[in-house]
Symmetry: C2
Subunit: 211 residues, 2 copies
């Protein structure tokens, strides 16, 4: 069957989720997928190549519904709320954790690094689009780098997922704190031209100090 490939990809994702990257082998993947171990090599050549395919597949499956919800958002705090929803869902489903595991593995594996960077980009792009849209009419828009912020949000989210795995209460506290922090941005936004002038002055001073 042609869907053996798919079963192996799904098996790889599930195995990483359950046993981590260190517990993910051709044998354990095949067992989870319910197929013969040799088929890993027939279809993908090496275990590494299968992991690369699984990395992109796991991300694509999760990003699409997330991107749809992002499109409906109207303010920054809703973005954070969506982040929390995603976080809760991922604790049950766990595809972001799969990406986190592969990201760790990618640190010493250039090929896997390409795949994980591409997967992360799948998250970053819709987030950046949402940020740009939300800040379009705002006076602080010109002062915020949406491209960089989207990357910081995505990378930070991965870090929080990993942290949640070893200290769930701490991760909850972290998310609560970020919730409160997001309010600051909206307040500055609401304050209008006064705050923006103050911001511009601050940023100019900052730029000078940096050089």
């Amino acid at each position: 069957m042609a869907d053996t490939r798919q079963r192996l990809i799904d098996g790889a994702i599930e195995t990483i989720r359950a046993h981590g990257l260190t517990g993910t082998t051709a044998r354990s993947i095949a067992a989870t997928a319910g197929v013969n171990q040799a088929l890993v090599f027939y279809h993908f050549g090496t275990v590494h190549d299968l992991l690369q395919a699984a990395c992109l597949a796991a991300t694509r499956a999760r990003v699409q519904p997330f991107a749809d919800q992002l499109g409906k958002i109207t303010d920054l705090r809703q973005l954070l709320a969506l982040g929390r929803t995603l976080h809760t869902a991922e604790r049950a489903e766990g595809n972001v954790m799969v990406l986190a595991q592969l990201l760790a593995g990618a640190q010493t594996d250039p090929k896997l690094a390409e795949a994980t960077a591409a997967s992360l980009q799948l998250w970053i792009t819709p987030i950046e689009d949402a940020l740009t849209r939300l800040l379009a009419g705002s006076p602080v828009a010109e002062l915020i780098d949406t491209a960089g912020l989207a990357r910081a949000v995505s990378a930070g989210f991965i870090g929080l997922e990993l942290y949640e795995g070893v200290d769930p209460e701490g991760a909850q506290a972290a998310l609560d704190a970020l919730d409160r922090l997001a309010v600051l941005i909206e307040v500055v936004d609401d304050l209008g031209p006064v705050a923006v002038r103050a911001l511009r002055a601050k940023l100019r001073k900052t730029a000078k100090n940096r050089i």
Copy 2:
């Protein structure tokens, strides 16, 4: 010699840094440490136990000088600047990366989870102290949860380290964006009572919506 233990711990850290957690075995550790492979088991019983010891050691070695620098900081943007300095230093030295690798491994290993949670706490505590101190006289102090924020910062930093490994330019952009974001907090701080009143109102409204 009694310092064989230490050489093994250092070897473990260096091996994780160079080859990742998947490439870290009793043999590779011993080779890096320049000692016999059997000594891993004589001194630590199992590879896992050595990794736990290495996790705490790697963190303790890095946290102390960082905590000292934290004590000299006088505003939030200096905190972010220190974060950048740390980030640059860690790219060369790489102990945070070791923690990130172990954190990924800890997701499916309760014993390692304990060790990594404890290690993360070593970072979180001085950061929380610094935040509390910096915000002591500020009007926004009561509106910010320093405990949660310190956790978010620490976890987010780990995520950025991992992201840097697969997309260095993206990570730089992310850090730049956070730099700009930090200015927002200071501006609100400078605006004084007006902004604080606006914040309080926002937070009250938020609390209602949450319930």
